[in-house]
């Protein structure tokens, strides 16, 4: 136990920085060997290097976490603020699956569980995570074994069955936070119901970690989480400038800390740095793409495996995704937590995430984004894996076109399984869409 703890701490404090400096040095050498032409994009963000360090360290520490500290595997929309004061190292299978998606590892991992009988129609994140568990393959080196599985149904119902399967395979306790779907505003009894579950969660997490939850520490983590959401929101809001200082695709990569390190000072320090860089670029008129002619909204998760190709295709013709409903969600939900009432406010915040709200609420969010970011077009990614996000998009697209006069299209793809995406057709459609702007 003591040895494991030492390894865990060393990975974060000593070994990690050394390995990462070496990695950065090698990257720099490789970069110098190549042409410095960024193509249709603006100059790369300086903060990228720090982002890479931050996330690599997180995964490096994770390799030594089990046996050293309590480990929880959590869904992206889980109120992690409650777990952090108890010393949990939080692992985000969705974030890990996104990483597998970028590296095009999903078909291989998924096949392992498709052979067990899991349908290809299931969410590719779920198949990736279970496939990684079954095969032991991961680009992160190793994921720590959990002591607790923490699942919140505010993003979908699939997570419930996915985490049950994990609980069965790993034989560890599963805590479930069930959030009633919100039509309009959540009713007081809905929020009471969620809050009661959070209190139960505290008791289970205390038992698993062997520690008592300290109200002051919980308030502090909640404060950090709220501040992190605000800072992330400020990063996104920098794109209200013309040209936007970065691309929505950059945003997809830079959201990793607000997902996986929410409620920590290292997350917030990172976003302070990123925000300052973005504001500086905006002041100097440095764009995410070289020549911004049209500003688009992106709805739904990214197509991780094709994100760079799609971004380049658009950037070459002067199109930039200046806002995305997905990255925006992480700024909006966190803003509702309140250190003065950590559990009550978490119940409200986590019940009101975008995917747990009805279509009129989602339309309001899209309308607001289109107006605030002065978009003249919208691409709605109909994501085969994410049904809750994709349902209703035909109506959302029509309403955006009709009411706000923006051109809109549906792009059928998947967030991480390239087998569910026809690249030729998808790109052809995007090209036709861009041509329609004249």
């Amino acid at each position: 136990m003591i040895l494991r703890r030492l390894q865990y701490e060393l990975a974060g404090r000593l070994a990690g920085p050394v390995v990462l400096s070496l990695d950065a040095w090698q990257r720099e050498r490789r970069r110098r060997g190549r042409s410095a032409d960024p193509g249709p994009f603006g100059p790369p963000l300086e903060s990228v290097r720090r982002l890479r360090e931050l996330m690599s360290l997180h995964y490096l520490r994770g390799r030594y976490a089990d046996g050293a500290v309590p480990v929880a595997w959590v869904t992206s929309g889980f109120p992690v603020e409650i777990l952090r004061p108890l010393g949990f190292h939080a692992v985000y299978p969705e974030n890990h699956a996104a990483m597998c998606g970028v590296q095009r590892l999903v078909p291989g991992l998924s096949l392992a569980v498709e052979e067990e009988g899991y349908s290809r129609d299931l969410c590719s994140y779920a198949r990736t995570d279970l496939g990684s568990l079954v095969t032991g393959r991961t680009p992160a080196g190793r994921l720590p074994r959990p002591d607790l599985l923490a699942c919140c149904t505010n993003i979908c119902q699939t997570v419930l069955y996915w985490y049950r399967s994990l609980a069965e395979r790993l034989r560890v306790p599963l805590v479930l936070v069930d959030t009633p779907f919100v039509y309009g505003e959540a009713k007081p009894h809905h929020l009471r119901y969620v809050r009661d579950q959070l209190e139960e969660l505290v008791r289970v997490a205390e038992r698993v970690s062997g520690r008592r939850s300290d109200p002051e520490e919980l308030a502090e983590v909640t404060r950090l989480s709220k501040e992190g959401a605000r800072l992330w929101g400020e990063c996104l809001a920098a794109s209200r400038s013309r040209p936007a200082p970065w691309t929505g695709i950059d945003g997809f990569f830079h959201m990793a800390p607000i997902v996986a390190l929410r409620g920590t000072e290292e997350c917030n320090a990172y976003y302070r740095m990123l925000r300052d860089e973005l504001r500086d670029r905006a002041r100097r008129g440095v764009g995410g793409i070289r020549e911004e002619r049209h500003r688009l909204l992106w709805d739904n998760l990214p197509v991780w495996f094709a994100v760079r190709d799609l971004s380049r295709l658009l950037a070459e013709r002067g199109f930039n995704f200046v806002c995305t409903s997905y990255t925006n969600a992480w700024a909006e939900a966190g803003a509702k937590v309140d250190p003065a009432d950590p559990l009550g406010s978490a119940a409200r915040a986590y019940t009101h995430v975008i995917l747990n709200q009805d279509l009129p609420n989602r339309l309001d969010i899209l309308r607001r984004l289109v107006r605030d970011y002065q978009c003249d077009g919208a691409v709605l990614h109909s994501d085969r894996s994410c049904k809750p996000y994709s349902i209703g998009q035909v109506d959302l697209k029509d309403r955006l076109s009709r009411e706000l006069g923006v051109r809109a299209m549906l792009l059928e793809a998947d967030h991480s399984d390239p087998r569910a995406y026809a690249a030729e057709q998808g790109e052809n459609r995007l090209q036709a869409f861009m041509e329609s702007f004249g």
Partner: protein, 259 residues
């Protein structure tokens, strides 16, 4: 009356390759149409050389279709934009264009200036396309030019429920084996295809009225035109030279490069 040759449009589709030679006003002077060759570059160059010879000089080329990036052209645009242009040049008015090609079906809402307002295409699956009919008609040994006559003879439609080409093929074989009349099966097939295309088009149509323009090889099949008319409940106007609409639009894009 026509003027001097001014531009060539090339539409390299998945099933057929089309080329159109036009004058400065966009009037069609000469055409080529043949099954697509997998060696796209060679076929495209040959067709262009033929039309250039006919024109008697070199001309700017607009290219469209799935193989558009593999031919040498001064302007390259998607089928959506080119079909809208081609359709507008012959109708001169806004409306909804349905194009059913070999591999895909597309619906384009065209604005008052001939611009693309919105569009939809079938995705990943070619069931709502000309290939669907081609495969099944070949299986039933019905020649394409006799389909309309046979469908007209049908007393009623035998429903074909599957919209997957492969499944529909086996479903049709079962229907034949069960003794269902061939004419009725053919009518059912057309209705199945029309309902798929209509589902895409319906959202683009005004609540009442509004003409639907039809292009693509399938427009030459009278049975398909009436099935689509039935499915949409609207008048269908088959565009002149329906297979050449994309190539015509590609040629026009060189003449007045607004998009």
């Amino acid at each position: 009356m026509t003027g001097a040759p001014a531009a060539i449009g090339l539409d390299v589709g998945s099933t057929t390759c089309k080329a159109a030679l036009v004058d400065g006003e966009g009037r069609l002077l000469a055409r080529r149409l043949e099954p697509s060759d997998p060696r796209v570059e060679a076929q495209g160059e040959r067709l262009l050389a033929e039309l250039r010879r006919e024109a008697g000089r070199d001309l700017p080329v607009g290219a469209t279709g799935y193989g558009r990036k593999r031919v040498r052209a001064s302007r390259i645009l998607t089928e959506i934009t080119c079909h809208a242009r081609g359709a507008f040049s012959s109708t001169g008015k806004p409306g909804v264009l349905v194009d059913v090609g070999g591999q895909d079906a597309k619906v384009v809402r065209i604005g008052p200036a001939g611009e693309v307002l919105d569009f939809a295409m079938n995705d990943k699956c070619a069931a709502g396309s000309g290939r669907f009919l081609e495969v099944i008609l070949a299986r039933l040994q019905v020649p394409l030019d006799d389909v309309a006559r046979q469908v007209a003879l049908a007393a009623g439609a035998v429903p074909v429920s599957s919209t997957c080409t492969v499944f529909a093929e086996s479903e049709v074989i079962s229907l034949v084996a069960e003794g269902e009349p061939l004419e009725g099966i053919l009518r059912g097939l057309h209705q199945s295809l029309a309902s798929r295309v209509a589902a895409m088009a319906r959202g683009f149509l005004p609540e009442e009225g509004g003409e639907v323009f039809l292009s693509g090889g399938v427009a030459l099949n009278g049975a398909m035109v009436s099935a689509l008319r039935g499915a949409l409940g609207r008048a269908i106007r088959v565009l002149p030279e329906p297979q050449l609409v994309g190539a015509l639009g590609a040629a026009l894009s060189v003449l007045s490069p607004q998009a």
